[in-house]
């Protein structure tokens, strides 16, 4: 199928198999910030935004992105550097494997426009697994990015 969508704000066109998954397309473009952690949509390392929706790109059929806006961590870090700053300031990472996904989720949460509180933040991030930090520093980073 012919695909055309905005990728990190820029026009992107390609020819892809009908069963193509968005993760493979993204990494095939050299945007390797988006990672495959589990391949079944559970861990969140592959999180990207499609319009305003955070999705597991490893199980997101690329055809569903047609004509829409796809944002990866590279694009989000460029357009919202203060998110990255918040993660550095609050030490919201160690090995970095989950960090791309956490940043994208933080951007998605912030874009909703209202602060869901600590419990709501934890609930929103609950699908992004981290083996290193024990999560508190990630929550602190995201809370800081939300301006609280």
């Amino acid at each position: 199928m012919k695909l055309a969508f905005l990728l990190n704000g820029e026009a992107f066109e390609t020819e892809a198999p009908g069963g193509a998954l968005l993760l493979d397309l993204i990494r095939g473009q050299g945007l390797c910030g988006t990672r495959e952690g589990c391949g079944v949509g559970v861990c969140g390392a592959c999180t990207v935004l499609v319009d305003r929706d955070p999705v597991s790109s490893c199980i997101f059929l690329a055809g569903c992105a047609q004509g829409r806006q796809v944002w990866t961590v590279e694009g989000i870090a460029r357009r919202e550097p203060d998110l990255v700053e918040a993660f550095i300031e609050h030490e919201g990472l160690q090995c970095g494997a989950c960090t791309s996904g956490q940043l994208v989720m933080a951007a998605a949460l912030r874009a909703k426009g209202k602060d869901p509180g600590e419990a709501g933040t934890r609930d929103f991030l609950a699908g992004n697994l981290c083996r290193c930090t024990g999560y508190q520093s990630i929550v602190d980073s995201v809370r800081a990015a939300l301006g609280s």
Binding site: P17, G18, G19, S56, A126
Partner: protein, 279 residues
Amino acid sequence: MDPEFTAPASLEEAVGDLERDGAVAVGGGTQVGLLVRQGLIEPCRLVWLGRIAGLREIRTDADGSLLIGAAATLAEIAASPLVRSVQPMVVRAASQVGNARVRAVGTLGGHLVHADPRQDLPPCLLVLAAEVRLLGRKGTRDMPLRDFIRGPFETAIQDGELLIRVKIPPNPRDTRCCYLRFTPGSSNDYPTVGVAALADLSDGMTRRAAVGLGGVAPRPLLVELPQLAGRALDAAAIAVAGQAAATACDPASDQRGSAAYKRAMARLWTVRALRACSL
């Protein structure tokens, strides 16, 4: 095999696209994408429903029934002020399915057609006497959800058919509902047991009580509790309900618990859910 990918703009077009053998409908794609990625299904055509105007609509009928379009996402349902005011238990269950990424794109139709016996919404929709509407080349047909879900991953949907809408009739005046999910695993995970309790307490005593149970049988169970009718919803009545839930289960032992454990949890969480209804 490389499938075709279509994005029909109308229900009519979608039904046409589904007429091919091996065509599969896609809502948010969280199940279909996974199955395709793992090579567990090899559809010849993927029919994405995301472009069909009106299929995500959430509204009420003239008689007060809640109508939810099959392409409404779980996140939209969880955030809907209308659903919250008319059927808050549905909001509660929808807001706990999977994780935020699943809820952002996963649709109600896809959820129900997938028919995993551990899912959160079917027990709620069963106690609420929900009905599904199916559309195929021959037209529409309506069916109670309890007849639609036949077994693990098995529904009454036929080839070439689409689930287009869920209808939930209005509740009697003083109906209390509570959905509780118990998962010893992560919040991402399916529950060991999900209990959707409903008690119609109009007239000051129980006119009807029922629980929907997920995760403890090959399909979600609707357990009517006629033995509670005409009495107060007190501790003794609730204990009877817990026993009925335990008896109704047919659980399989797995990493979410042994059969005996699941049966015990079905009893315990039924008691807790009905207790919440009685307050």
